[in-house]
Amino acid sequence: MEFSLEHLAAAIVILLFLGGIALFRSPRTARQGGWLNMLAYAGAVAFVILRYPMLNPAFVLIAILLGGTLGSTLALRVSMLAVPQMIAFQHGCGGVAAFLIAFSEFIREGADLTTLAQVGSVLGMLVGAATFSGSLIAAGKLARKIKQQPVFLPRHSTILCGLLVLIISLSVFTVLQIGLPIAVGSAIGLIVISVTIGVVFTIRVGGADMPVAISFFNATAGFAAAFCGIALSNYLLIGCGACVAASGSLLTIVMCRAMNRSLLGVFAGIRPSIAEPAKLPEEVPIEAGGMEALPFDQAIAALKRAKDIIIVPGYGMALAQAQEQTHSLENWLEQRGARVRYAIHPIAGRMPGHMNVLLAEVEVGYDKLFEMEAINDDFKEADLAIVIGACDVVNPAASTRQGTPISGMPILKAHEANAVIVLNLDEKPGFSGVDNPLYGMKHVIPVWGDAKVNLNALLSSLQE
């Protein structure tokens, strides 16, 4: 092989992408990093179009306009709460593109493909198709269109292993028969089985583990792109696929660590699934839980007294759409000279970094958002911790009780604060199903009910 103009272009584009990712290091430069990525992408497209003149550009243009219009319209309208399912859906679309391209190359070149390219295109089909179906299931679970609880088929693991054995043998068969009409049929068979595997694999993952699943499919989308690159002997695709695979793998590891679970454990659904997931606010009448006069007044007094406050937002806050009210409370406290910080648990949202986005949307300054490691030791000096719609991530049972689904999971030590206000829907356990001893502690003031309603009530009392 010789070094060509194509290799040079690929190297420049990959360097630009890596440079863009390097700029994500700080919120100040991140946006420019995004622009650099767009520039690199546009440059790569321009280079390929000039080098490979299309036979029927009209169709291609229509296809781009169709996909682009749909994509940008959805991306501009989607709420920040729904971003995880939007991204999962996009992973699915990327998976479709990958397996279609791998399949087309496999069929078109047939026996002329090198062995390496054959293997690449088969892997591209497999990983692309499984990413497609798995991501759609993940998107459905995130959007609550599909049941949140893990679905166990009878002999689930046996079925999965059987499918894997089947797919490996069929892959070998397909590569051996390449060029013959039967290879087309078995390649289609491969895609169908991979789609099935994606489904069987993902239905077993519970709603609370979606941050891991979505990161994992981010990685597989990258691998699929890299395999397409091997099929087409295209270094640009290989390099870009590797960038994405690196990012997805890292996020998967970060999420597993945050929950103190193994990747295998997450995908095997090893989690006592007896627990009912937390109920949606809309399913519960707002009066439920009721606001007893006493805790409410205690909360008011605690808020007026506190000088050093840490807010612990959870996914329940986002479900109750109480971000604005939380920000207003923060402003009120700061106007009185108090110091307010947010403690963000890595799995506070439904995907890596989700809670930060939800708070940034209502213009909470990002310098007030602290990761768990950075703020956990400060709880014991804080006058007040305000837990809003968070349960498992502040559950002290994680470190005190053995054998629960959250045992060993690092938590935010909100219970160490001098006083704690809990603004949760009810005293039911969170996703994990483990009762939260925090609620019964003496220095804890539970204000049950819809967080938005209660925060509004607290704010209007405070502002009187």
């Binding site: 991140a30 296809a63 679309c93 391209i101 087309s104 390496l116 981010n218 990012s247 970094g353 990761e371």
Partner: protein, 91 residues
Amino acid sequence: MLSIIVMLGTFFFILGVGYFLVSRVPTLLHTPLMSATNAISSITILGAFILISKSIPPLIAILVIVAIVMASFNCIGGFVLTDRMFKMFRK
């Protein structure tokens, strides 16, 4: 044989460099990071462009066109969403 080594070498080298760079992205920005890399993964669209420049049977051409629709949805949607999120962190 050489091409196998070069391709796998490229893949693992960039995987390593990418992992290093991504590990320095603060958790604050992990959602837009995933959205951005998601958009980058639609680079497979280049494969579709290369395929469509060659004479291919109409049935395959339809599949490639579908792939272009999907990849451009992924790409443009991904970049727009990423930029929307990054904008929120610039205060």
